[in-house]
Amino acid sequence: MKSKSLVSIDQCSKEDILRILENAAKFEANPNRKLLEGKVAATLFFEPSTRTRLSFETAINRLDGRVIGFTDASTTSSSKGETLKDTILMVSNYADLIIMRHHLEGAARYASEVTNIPVINAGDGANQHPSQTLLDLYSIQKTQGTLDNLTITLVGDLKYGRTVHSLIVGMSHFNPTFNFVAPNELKMPDEQKHFCDKHGIRYHEYTEFDESIIDETDILYMTRVQRERFTDMEEYERVKNVYILKNDMLKNSKDNLKILHPLPRVNEIAYDVDDNPKAYYFQQARNGVFTREAIICDVLNIPVN
């Protein structure tokens, strides 16, 4: 029998999501628990990502587990032509759990098919990064007291931004209303809009980022607008400063508004926003550790009390 893995947010039912978030809250109340005592977790970062790796390794350490792994595939056998399958099977002999990031899309799904130990996808190219989505959901639930009936405004690169696509899937169980704010070149793809239509999710599209949209928003989710995403440089020059959030844009916003960002940010949130109590992106990253503790216990079927 195949073990339980977390490869994509699509595989999570509403019950799965709520269970993981409930456990994440327990870890926030008491992060240090000896639930992984005697267990070894492998963090295989075929593609480096310091932020994600530190968050997972902190989670493992707080659970009293041990970590093995690598952070750069050029120092491992995969650079000598070893297949992913061989690397995964080798590591499966040593570890109880694999957490992996890979630049190729579908790598984590394939790994979960060849091994008998659980695999957690910590990002496969532009495809999936489910622990990011779950920590976003945890941050939303924690700051709003609920996931239901919220108005969520997504700003910036909605075309290539996998975090916003996954957030739509994750929120689809909770009757959200979305505002999509993006330049024409980076607007939300039809596939995601069809998904919303199919699931009865309301959405509105805007190219202008103005205060009237912010004022009706519960969660403002900012993303980076990257120069390399544009084919038309004139368009980039025209829009690069349009999707920047400044503190004075928040003066009439709702009291419960929180601003999220998957980080790292470049300039899409002005520094004067950081001191606004509605800025939540640094706490959001902190929530990642609790969410990942909950995910690790979930795939290993370890109960959390």
């Binding site: 992913l84 790598a107 394939y110 495809n127 999936q128």
Partner: protein, 153 residues
Amino acid sequence: MSEKKKELQVAALENGTAIDHIPPAELFKVAKMLGLEHTQNTITIGNNLQSKKMGTKGMIKISDKFFEEDVINRIALIAPKVVLNIIRDFEVVEKRPVELPDEVTGLVICNNPKCITNNEPMLTRFRVIDKEHGTIRCEYCERKINRSDIVIK
């Protein structure tokens, strides 16, 4: 055109399978999909034949060969209107349209170069998400591929 003349467009078959109504542009792809280059059976191929329904069409007749359903259904990936004629003793004993399976394994190449299936010795696997339009989705990278963009291994 009379039945007689129509029949003469491609040599008659005593026993075997006649695959009819293949779009002319897809004929050789269909032949490749069925692995016909490796078979020793007598094969007659006609292409750009006149067709009332399609204008022109292609047809493949294979003697003494009856395909497994899941093999023949793969044709539906690129040529959904194909009709299969099972022939025994010069008579068409069964006429059957092809139908897309729910899953297609090891046949289609994913057209995402960053997909794991293009970088690892492994079988591809696609889920058919829209049978009518022939849209499939890679089970690994989740890329959607429309019928016109499907590349056969």
